[in-house]
Symmetry: C2
Subunit: 266 residues, 2 copies
């Protein structure tokens, strides 16, 4: 499915099982009145066992939470928080053990560098944490699939697609289609279309709404997965399609001179 899968000869589950064993050596025992877990439930709630327990969430409520959280921890951590904060209440462990706030560094395309839009990184973190890594078995491959869907959906959708019930900026926010999962390209096209500066309240609210839009879309897919009706929508396999890890907008950077990737194993 992904780039490194092309050339890999063998994925051993040894290391994975070893890691799981280490965690299994610790028993989580609920104490105090705040946890909803029984001791038995907690014992089974290892972070290295997938899928993590999931209950269906309301996409609209999730989007509202993501919008509000953007103003505290920004795009990437806000997407994670919007899902995990609800699952902390409804499920408990392993969601309570995940250090959501530390992912604030995803802001501005990672520390302001404009690389992957934090909301896309957050969506991939959520789907892969809940459903699991592809090496954990076939039942976990939808984690990567939902993450890949999130990237393609982000590229193709006029964003922000979600309007919060009580937006902080009351004026209309223009929608733009990025054709890229990168913060720099997404924000840049929106700034060009809107004329607003990076530090303006409008740009900030736009990004909060994009974060809400991504969270809404993500939870729709997670709910479908929980129902057993999820099917992967994205089909982009860059390494086999164009011979290199890539987006789909080659000419946007390369112009007419898109290089050919070396194709032979020299």
């Amino acid at each position: 499915m992904t780039i490194e899968k092309m050339g890999e000869k063998e994925i051993s589950r040894r290391g994975l099982l070893k890691g799981a064993g280490l965690v299994a050596g610790i028993t989580l025992a609920a104490s105090g009145g705040m946890s909803l877990l029984t001791k038995a439930e907690a014992k089974g709630a290892s972070t290295d066992k997938w899928p993590w327990p999931y209950v269906k969430l309301d996409p609209e409520k999730t989007a509202e939470l993501a919008y509000d959280e953007w103003y505290r921890i920004f795009c990437g951590a806000a997407v994670i928080s919007s899902v995990f904060s609800q699952l902390r209440e409804k499920v408990g462990e392993p969601y309570t053990a995940f250090p959501v706030d530390a992912f604030i560094f995803l802001e501005g395309g990672m520390a302001g560098w404009g690389t992957i839009c934090g909301s896309n990184a957050g969506a991939n973190i959520v789907s892969n944490m809940i459903i699991g890594p592809r090496i954990a078995g076939p039942e976990c491959e939808n984690g990567a699939a939902i993450g890949a869907d999130a990237l393609e959906w982000y590229c193709e959708t006029a964003l922000p697609s979600y309007t919060p019930k009580e937006p902080r900026v009351k004026t209309a926010i223009v929608q733009t289609t990025s054709n890229s999962p990168l913060c720099h390209v997404s924000v840049g096209k929106w700034m060009k279309a809107s004329g607003y500066a990076i530090s303006s309240p409008e740009r900030r609210d736009r990004c909060a709404r994009v974060t809400a839009s991504v969270a809404y879309n993500l939870v729709k897919d997670l709910n479908a997965w929980k129902d057993g009706t999820y099917k992967q929508k994205s089909s982009w396999k860059a390494a086999s399609n164009v011979g290199i890890t890539a987006q789909q907008n080659c000419t946007e950077c390369h112009g007419a001179n898109v290089p050919s990737a070396p194709s032979a194993k020299k």
Copy 2:
């Protein structure tokens, strides 16, 4: 320091403290012979309290672990594993609770899309998980700083800079300087210089060595931070430097026509 800091008016610690309280409601009790933790140590090891306990690691050993782990869980998760697997042994919680393998999705610049090189994402995850998010207090700001340093170092360094003791590919691996933290650009420049295809053993070993190089550099900074001698080396502040989240290689995509970012709050 980062983009969203420019416009933010107020960061409340309310939500952070609320989250920490939720976790504090669960007591981790060691059971069985595998854990090195006493009950008291485990009780204090909340994932939402920063900094996480850190002991200095050997950069070379860390690089070797990262190199080996690349062949199991690839760039991003391998950097995390190289540091956290040692701290799981030396410290225990909260490192045992972090689901390292799920970060395999960082491979190929996130699900093969060629965005942020996974090793850069992994380095940022490690530094921000250990030292903490910037909103957790001034003592935590070095988490973001070391992450930003990792990005700039990656752009400016001829990679791979680390040669494993027993490399799987015995031939020389050409070094290239990416001037970008993106997988597509980094791998693309190396493929052009080397002539090797994406699926070749040489390209795969190059990426494993880059992962080792990033882990080596990361641990040097973490050790300096532990010693109290760390000083931020990177100075890139895209939003204030160029008015948008960005890398430093504008002309590489834009050519001579680098757009001006809207500067006024319309």
